[in-house]
Amino acid sequence: MAELTPNERARRLAAGADADRLPCVPIVGNTAARVIGCRVRELRYDAALLANAQVAAYRAFGYDNIRIFTDLYPSAEAMGAKVYAPDDETAYLALPAIQEPGQIDTLRPADPQRDGILPLQLEALRRALDVVGDEVPVTAALTGPFTVASFLVGAETLTRLVLRSPSAAARLCDLALETTLRLAEAIMDSGGTPSLTDAMSSATVISPRTFEQFSLPGLRTLVEYIHGRGKKVTLHICGKTQPIWPLMVATGADCLSLDNDASLAAAKTAVGDQVKLMGNVHPAAVMLQGTPLTVRAAVREVVAAAGDSPKGLIVASGCSLPTETPFENIRAMLDAVREIGFPVNRENLQETHALARKIPNSEPTLNYPGAPRHPFTEGELAHARKLAVREESTRTHTNPSPTCSRVSDSPSVKGRPRSGRGSSAFDAAAHETPNHPGAAGEGAV
């Protein structure tokens, strides 16, 4: 089958028809700066450049969703938080909007048309939609209310407040929610889809009970609002999430984007019949530090784990890609998904699976038309074998890092009709992070 556009692919998959391959979203954030050769900082303050970079990255790699994203902080910044944007690295929080909980009542919800860089993000979204909106879903990152609240008062302060002064924590979350709702509205008014990313709500940071009390209400309100306007939405939370999968489903999100601290096979069993899944190739260990061979092996693991998930799978990185992720690894991710095809070619899956796991003396071959041949070096093969062994030995234990890539830069999203086979294109998105904890693309909390 000839290569479909992302929208065509999504339509066919949603209708239960064959397609050329599974959807695939390496969550490209500021790596887009490398594609067009600009500085990371420029993307944050130049809407045209941000749109150009994201469109160029999409065209270079051919993935299934564009997400307008620079960092996790635009909403909090628009409410008074100070953000530091290094010349050529992802921006980070320099100072929360308030220094003590007593100042909560001085905060006001932001106006997306006016405050901080929100107008620029919206303009970039519109520009990208103008150029490629008819072929690929374009989303805009929307940081979840609890995570925004953590940037308003400081993560440590908020985590203390949830136990010590629940009413103050709830007030902060409500303020953050109001900003988030306004931004969601503005994103949809622009023709895009919000892509929810909520790193601080990770079970690496807060308990399921705290999630239920402080994260769930805001997320549910947002999802209801987004659904009310006919859009599907993806919820990305990085770090550990297994204890909160049922609660993530309870938000109403159409797709859960999980990072490498979560097992997609377990997620498929637990919630795969209720939501689409998205994940979870390791953004740092595989995408940044791996080779095309290790990336392809990791993609196969993902598809083997959840390629048959009842509501569908989007092969993705677990979090936003680190800025310096090699292009060849991003290409390899798409190549691997093309090789596997759709419906999933199990044989092919096994074959390359075995390759990464055992001793590949033969070169792996790509069997889609026009596929490039990749000769792999001895070093790459050795690395792949080592990785396979290591992954085997660590597979069963859960990895408790205190934050995402964790509270780190995580992100994500993709939506798909709740009924599972709805009509609209899924809107994928991605997230950043942490990673945490854990996070851990760039950006996590």
């Binding site: 980070y92 440590e156 705290t210 290591r390 205190p402 509270v407 904890p437």
Partner: protein, 224 residues
């Protein structure tokens, strides 16, 4: 008589530990004051009460019964009682504690994870020199040399700053100081493979395991 005093002292230790686990700062300070008023040994109270409590908290954290908010509030209760007890420590043991220089690397302002490690190390008998966040690689080395540290612990939550971790090791090698310090790394995007790649001595995925790693790499402290 002495039995019953011992018994009361032991009960106070148990109460302190419970206060820490219960995140109860008011009671932990109250019990610490009682220890002082009764002239019970402050050092033993810290060891048998506060440290014991934080050990239990660490276990609860590993078991995913406690999360970061709970851990922070427990440590608040621990530190508040520690402030009461510290001036009454009779033995001078501070000098023997292995010193660990901690920080979050340059460009990364996330520091919850580092603070958790610091709290757990602190309560496990290490002297923690906290450099804070956004720490340039050279500063880790300078401080470690200045204070005679045994270990440099580096944390990050962002993949963009991982190279700065490698830089610390490189600087140590250049200065021919690599053998003088253990270097451990942690944080969301870090993996054992990365730790190995940059030549660190170890990696820990969580605060309690970071302390276990320290115990393994360094001679365990004589006492908490």
């Amino acid at each position: 008589m002495s039995n019953s005093i011992n018994n009361e002292e032991t009960q106070l230790h148990a109460a302190l530990a419970d206060d820490v686990v219960a995140m109860d700062e008011t009671n932990s300070v109250g019990h610490a004051n009682e220890i002082v008023a009764r002239q019970f040994d402050a050092y033993t109270a810290i060891d048998q009460g506060l440290v014991e409590g934080m050990n239990r908290v660490g276990k609860l954290f590993e078991q995913e019964e406690y999360f970061i908010p709970e851990l922070l509030l427990s440590s608040d209760a621990m530190y508040a009682a520690l402030d009461v007890l510290k001036p009454h420590i009779r033995r001078a043991d501070g000098d023997q504690k292995p010193k660990v220089v901690f920080g979050v690397v340059e460009g990364d302002t996330h520091d919850i994870g580092k603070n958790l490690v610091k709290i757990m190390a602190d309560s496990s008998g290490y002297e923690v020199i906290d450099l804070g966040r956004d720490v340039p690689p050279q500063k880790f080395v300078d401080e470690a040399v200045a204070v005679g540290a045994s270990c440099i612990a580096i944390s990050t939550l962002m993949t963009t700053t991982m190279d700065a971790m490698a830089e610390v090791v490189t600087i140590l090698q250049k200065l021919k100081l690599r053998e003088k310090f253990k270097v451990i790394v942690g944080g969301g995007p870090i993996s054992p493979a990365f730790a190995e790649k940059i030549g660190a001595d170890g990696y820990a995925p969580s605060a309690p395991t970071a302390v276990k790693l320290l115990n393994k790499l360094l001679a365990p402290p004589a006492s908490a």
